[in-house]
């Protein structure tokens, strides 16, 4: 019976991509308590920038870096123009702004040649050819690169938030903006930085996704929604939670596709099963697996 280990491995692979995509959510949430519905669109933007560059002959890796840099700046710009005014507004309004933004970016991407239709990357030399096989499951080099990239970035950000002064400052801002200002923290700069970092990770996720499944606006942007159960399951403000949540959702999806689908007529249970588990987990742990419990002392 080698199906189970294979399903688990495949779950981990896709899960680490989810985790990477989720990281951007968490970065923003952790510092500003904003949930970014436009994250999928930023992921798509990053992927298409990289793609457009490779189309013009730029080396794949350089194109990827430039894309990350661009979305870094884009994140900053979005914060500056749209989110900064929303500081102090109710959470639902801020969420809705990001929903609006997702729509705006969608529209803007439709103004490029990449809005409709489907494209795929010219695979760089490093990622072509035979990957490795685990428990009889062949994994492509792209997948392996994706997992490594995801784990690397996630590790770096975990360290950053727990140990660096800037990371602590970012958490402080999320905790109490006014108090953070009172000690001279520029809340604006912290937000801008969070958005920028989220943008950067989004491009990374976008490029990997693009390599794995091709580039369509709908597909890339759709990840923004997919990542939702991931961050909620892991706990919205936890980088570790993003990793674990991503892996769990990836594995759950695969287990349900591997076993449940055979039982349920029509199948397609991978679309709903993670959500059902998510609700059950939330009922037991209302702040997700690793989320910070609100301190409520009356």
């Amino acid at each position: 019976m080698e199906l189970l280990p294979q399903l688990l491995i495949a779950g981990v692979v896709i899960g680490s991509i989810y985790a990477l995509a989720a990281l951007g959510f968490v970065l923003i949430y952790k510092s500003s308590r904003v949930i970014n519905f436009a994250h999928g669109q930023i992921i798509a933007t990053g992927a298409f920038i990289a793609f457009a560059l490779t189309q013009r002959g730029v080396n794949f890796w350089i194109a990827g870096l430039i894309a990350m840099l661009t979305t870094f700046l884009l994140g900053m710009l979005i914060e500056r123009v749209f989110l900064r005014r929303m500081v102090g507004e109710p959470i639902i309004s801020v969420i809705m702004v990001t929903i609006g933004l997702s729509s705006v970016i969608d529209g803007l991407l439709h103004l490029t040649p990449y809005g409709a239709g489907t494209f795929s990357f010219e695979r760089p030399a490093l990622l072509t050819g035979q990957g490795i096989e685990l428990f009889g499951l062949p994994l492509s080099k792209t997948q392996i690169a994706g997992v490594l990239m995801a784990l690397g970035l996630l590790g770096a950000f975990t360290y950053f938030f727990n140990k660096s002064t800037l990371g602590i400052t970012m958490r402080a801002v999320a905790d109490d903006q006014m108090a953070a200002m009172s000690v001279g923290t520029s809340v604006e700069r912290v937000f801008a930085l969070a958005w920028a970092a989220a943008g950067l990770t989004a491009a990374a996720a976008g490029v990997i996704l693009g390599l794995m499944s091709g580039l369509t606006l709908g597909g890339l942007a759709g990840i923004g929604l997919k990542v939702f159960p991931v961050v909620i399951l892991g706990g919205l403000d936890s980088v570790i939670g993003a990793i674990v949540g991503g892996m769990l959702i990836g594995i759950l999806e695969n287990l349900s596709a591997g076993y449940l689908d055979g039982i349920v007529p029509g199948g397609g249970t991978r679309e709903v099963f993670p959500f059902i588990v998510l609700i059950i987990v939330l009922l037991i742990r209302p702040y997700g697996l690793f989320g910070t419990k609100e301190i409520e002392r009356v």
């Binding site: 002064t165 602590i168 958490r171 109490d176 006014m178 200002m181 001279g184 520029s186």
Partner: protein
């Protein structure tokens, strides 16, 4: 009660002309939401190296005054409409909160507002201005002032007691190496022993580091005892000022802020002046 009554405002004792290290608030008017005027021409000076206290009734505008100085009005939708605030050659009223902190003026907010989800040590680190100085050394310095804190360094600040939170808040502010510390009701909700301890510490830091302090207090007793100079605020105006000892002997201050009768005896709360109100309770 208003103190701006017939009672003549005592002439302030002679003081030297303000130096550049004095924080001066000059005729400041503040409005919230563009319509609610709260400060109506407030002027005061925080002398370099001195502890200055600011007393006043609820809603007089004390917190607002501190916010005006520290640049924290904006998030509350407030504005300085008139007047200037200067310190160390800089016009604080013209710069943002971050710059004010860099200029050396740091506020400890009302109600302490520690970062609840951060550990005590992280709270302190969050106070360090980014990229300035060695936070390790500063941490040790804070721990010498508040020896209770090291034991708590990894505890979540949200679960520490009121007094500990006040120490964390002050310590956090000190991490930025301020030259003027603005304290908003540090005694709020603290047990008597702790109030004394906090003020002892403030006094000590003031002496050892030459730190100027502006403290807003409701506990006029302890504030006047631990300050050099004092102001009394009513309805958005400074209505009285003087050396702390002088203020403490002012009959009005005695009655309304210190709760001492003419004769110097403490009034009992039991026989409070019910006569002042119409009783209409049922």
């Amino acid at each position: 009660m208003t103190l701006s009554s017939p009672q003549p405002v005592p002439t302030p004792p002679p003081r030297a002309a303000p130096g550049t290290d004095d924080l001066t608030v000059n005729n400041v008017e503040v409005v919230y939401h563009d319509i609610i005027q709260v400060l109506r021409g407030v002027s005061l000076t925080v002398r370099a190296g001195q502890v200055t206290s600011l007393l006043g009734t609820n809603g007089a505008g004390k917190t607002t005054t501190l916010r005006a100085i520290s640049g924290l009005l904006k998030p509350e939708n407030g504005k300085i409409r008139e007047g200037t605030i200067t310190f160390g050659g800089k016009t604080l009223s013209a710069i943002g909160g971050t710059e004010v902190v860099k200029a050396g003026v740091v506020q400890v907010p009302e109600g302490r507002r520690v970062f609840k989800h951060l550990s005590v040590e992280e709270n302190l680190r969050a106070g360090a201005i980014l990229g300035r100085g060695d936070w390790h050394a500063d941490l040790e310095r804070i721990y010498t002032y508040f020896p209770k804190l090291p034991a708590l360094r990894h505890k979540q600040a949200g679960y520490t007691s009121g007094g500990e939170q006040q120490m964390i808040a002050i310590g956090r502010a000190l991490m930025a190496h301020p030259r003027v510390l603005l304290l908003d009701e540090p005694s709020l909700g603290l047990a008597p022993l702790l109030v004394a301890e906090i003020f002892d510490n403030v006094r000590r830091i003031n002496r050892e580091e030459g730190l100027s302090v502006l403290v807003v207090e409701q506990n006029a007793n302890i504030a006047l005892r631990n300050s050099d100079y004092g102001y009394v605020m009513e309805n958005g105006r400074i209505v009285m000022e003087g050396l702390s000892a002088q203020l403490a002997s002012n009959p009005d201050v005695k009655e309304f802020y210190l709760g001492v009768t003419e004769g110097g005896a403490r009034k009992s709360f039991k026989d409070v002046k019910s006569y002042k109100r119409r009783k209409r309770w049922m």
